[in-house]
């Protein structure tokens, strides 16, 4: 994560003048680390240590499994990357041999879950970005009742995801209000694609306002003079949008999309409650997070391997994002924005 390091900005406070600059700097570093210590210790205990344990555990096999041939408890031990291979190749260790997993077992659904997770991430983030830009544009206009609009937009954001899931579960009920209004008989929570769309719709409803607020904050930073200058030069509305709004909005937009994508890739609450990961008679909406939780109930070692794979996937996406789009997430976005404004 050093790639996202922020260049130090603030001036060191002036300490007693009798010290040399070097000693002063060392003292400030010491104070800073003391102030940061509680945060770092907390994060080490709850994040870094579990990751280390998890990776360690994923290289072993649980000793609690029962060998179907002998009917005895198999002994646990070091198995190397076996747990990872089991996931990636969708195979199980049955009777000491690698075999294709029986249908319905978590391993058999690995690539399906990868597909489902990325499908949800791509579709929801795309929808939320487009609708979010539209919402932000309306919120940015000056009209009577703008206060109501800005307050209303915060309501879906404030509702807990668990409640959102139950609420949409009710709306999507086979005899619920949506089917009644549309005069349809769609099984929104059990049909394969209908249940996927149900989750996409509910997620888009819940999260678009957040996206819109981030984009609005970006829009408000674009100086009015830039638009005036464009109007003077006779730019059309479409030209103004693509030549001025989009490039100046890009830093804010990229950060918003990055955060949303990483969030969407670990989606759990909504599918877990809305469809239970089901759909199409199988695992139609089982995201990777749901698959991990299902696996925890069976064996820890395999679940650790899967959670490590999930973690690597998400970090890979974050890395590609930051490299390709130059997402600036450490907060000197304003400086960047000013630079873009100058160029334009």
């Amino acid at each position: 994560m050093t790639a996202v390091a922020a260049p130090p900005r603030s001036q060191p406070p002036k300490l007693a003048g009798r010290e040399s600059a070097e000693a002063n700097r060392r003292r400030i570093t010491r104070i800073a680390w003391m102030l940061l210590a509680p945060t770092i210790i907390a994060m080490l205990i709850v994040v870094a240590y579990p990751i280390a344990v998890s990776i360690f555990q994923s290289l072993f096999t649980d000793s609690s499994g029962i060998d179907p041939k002998t009917g005895l408890f198999t002994k646990g031990g070091f198995v190397g990357v076996q747990n990872y291979l089991n996931w990636l190749l969708q195979q199980c260790q049955i009777g000491g041999k690698s075999q294709a997993c029986p249908a319905g077992s978590p391993q058999a659904g690995f690539w399906n879950s990868v597909f489902v997770t990325f499908l949800f991430a791509v579709v929801t983030v795309a929808l939320e970005t487009v609708i979010g830009i539209w919402m932000a544009f309306i919120m940015n206009r000056d009209f009577r009742g703008r206060g109501i609009l800005r307050a209303a937009v915060l309501v879906p954001w404030a509702i807990p995801t668990a409640v959102t899931a139950k609420l949409w579960y009710f709306i999507f009920d086979p005899s619920g209000v949506l089917n009644t209004v549309l005069h349809t008989q769609i099984l929104w929570t059990s049909d394969l694609w209908a249940s996927r769309w149900a989750i996409i719709i509910a997620d888009t409803w819940k999260t678009t306002p957040f996206m819109a607020l981030l984009i609005l904050a970006g829009l408000q930073l674009i100086p009015e003079e830039t638009y005036e200058a464009a109007r003077m030069d006779g730019a059309s509305k479409i030209q103004t949008f693509f030549r001025i709004t989009v490039p100046l909005l890009k830093p804010a937009l990229v950060v918003a999309i990055l955060f949303r994508t990483l969030d969407a890739l670990r989606m759990y609450d909504l599918p877990a409650i809305l469809t239970g990961g089901g759909g199409g008679g199988g695992q139609g909406t089982t995201t990777l997070s749901i698959l991990v939780v299902q696996q925890i109930k069976q064996s820890n070692d395999s679940a650790s391997a899967l959670s490590t794979i999930t973690f690597i996937l998400i970090f890979a996406v974050a890395f590609i994002f930051i490299r390709l789009l130059g997402a600036n997430i450490t907060g000197n976005a304003e400086k960047q924005r000013k630079a873009v404004a100058k160029e334009a």
Binding site: S10, L154, F210
Partner: protein
């Protein structure tokens, strides 16, 4: 109109002949009126889209269970019975307990995360030291971390400590979850503080700690308060950890809502669930509407989802 044709716009318009200017003015006003109407319609669509599902939850929460699937959009067959049965523990639902647990857990988490987070974000925003980028990257990286990856080791760790079923099982990971958000949001607020005042206090003889406590902290109060609301809401809405690490005794509201069961097996007691959902959501909606401006400022300053 041909006399004023051409690329003339804006100021040039006003300088054209009087006769034409009035007709132009009228046309312009009509165009503006139409644009305003169009904006209004779009705004109305957004408001309805955002509020309709919530409105439906409130309406159904107040409706007689026998009319659950009545599509009448207006409040009808009003009853308060669902709000009573939401707190009924006969079917294994403990909404009252869950509410008390959530308030307790979220308050503890918010207070600790703020105290720890203020000191960290002060260091990050104010002091220039070796390894700052690394720390910032570490905290941000932790905030993007998939929660599921922590579940198995945390579960094992807490079981080994003999803590399972106790509040700290949720409080400790919640603090770690709220910290990146707290540090990130406070950091971006702190960067815009008038630090000259702190220096002035130092010159007047304050110690660094005094200068921060007497001068900066009161000025930062709104930022701290905003961050507190965001941390509280984030903890209130957490579901993944509690669904695996929690149990009936330490359940939070999201756990209670997700597990909600009725007296008839395989049948969702929808009206009661909607009432329970409304009860759980109302504190947040009230918070959000009162502190709307601050919350928006905090959300966009941090850029981290609450």
């Amino acid at each position: 109109m041909t006399t004023v044709a051409g690329p003339a716009t804006g100021i040039a318009e006003k300088q054209s002949g009087e006769v034409y200017s009035t007709t132009r003015e009228r046309a312009r006003r009509r165009r503006q009126g139409r644009a305003a109407l169009f904006t209004g319609i779009q705004a109305a669509v957004i408001v309805i889209w955002c509020l309709l599902p919530f409105y439906w939850m409130v309406v159904i929460g107040l409706r007689d269970p026998r009319y659950t699937f009545d599509p009448n959009p207006l409040p009808s067959h009003l009853t308060f019975e669902n709000y009573v049965s939401a707190f009924d523990t006969a079917n294994g639902n403990y909404l009252g307990l869950a509410l008390a647990n959530s308030f307790f857990i979220c308050l503890v988490v918010t207070v600790i995360a703020l105290v720890v987070g203020i000191s960290a974000s002060y260091a990050l925003a104010r002091l220039n030291f070796t390894g700052k980028g690394l720390v910032m990257g570490f905290i941000l990286g932790a905030s993007m971390f998939p929660g599921v990856a922590l579940l198995t080791p945390l579960f094992k760790m807490f079981t080994d400590l003999g803590w399972s079923g106790q509040y700290q099982v949720l409080i400790i990971p919640y603090i770690a979850g709220a910290l990146p958000l707290t540090v990130y949001t406070l950091n971006s607020f702190f960067r815009e503080m008038p630090w000259e005042l702190e220096e002035a206090a130092r010159i007047d003889g304050c110690t660094p700690a005094q200068a921060f406590r007497i001068v900066i902290l009161p000025l930062a109060a709104p930022a701290v308060f905003t961050t507190a609301i965001l941390a509280f809401i984030a903890s209130w809405n957490e579901y993944l950890l509690v669904s695996v690490l929690g149990n009936t005794q330490i359940q939070t509201v999201t756990y209670a809502i997700a597990q909600f069961t009725g007296s008839i097996p395989h049948t969702q007691p929808y009206t009661t669930i909607m009432a329970a959902g409304t009860i759980v959501t109302i504190p947040l909606i009230v918070l959000v509407l009162i502190f709307q401006r601050r919350i928006v400022a905090g959300l966009t300053a941090g850029g981290v989802k609450g």
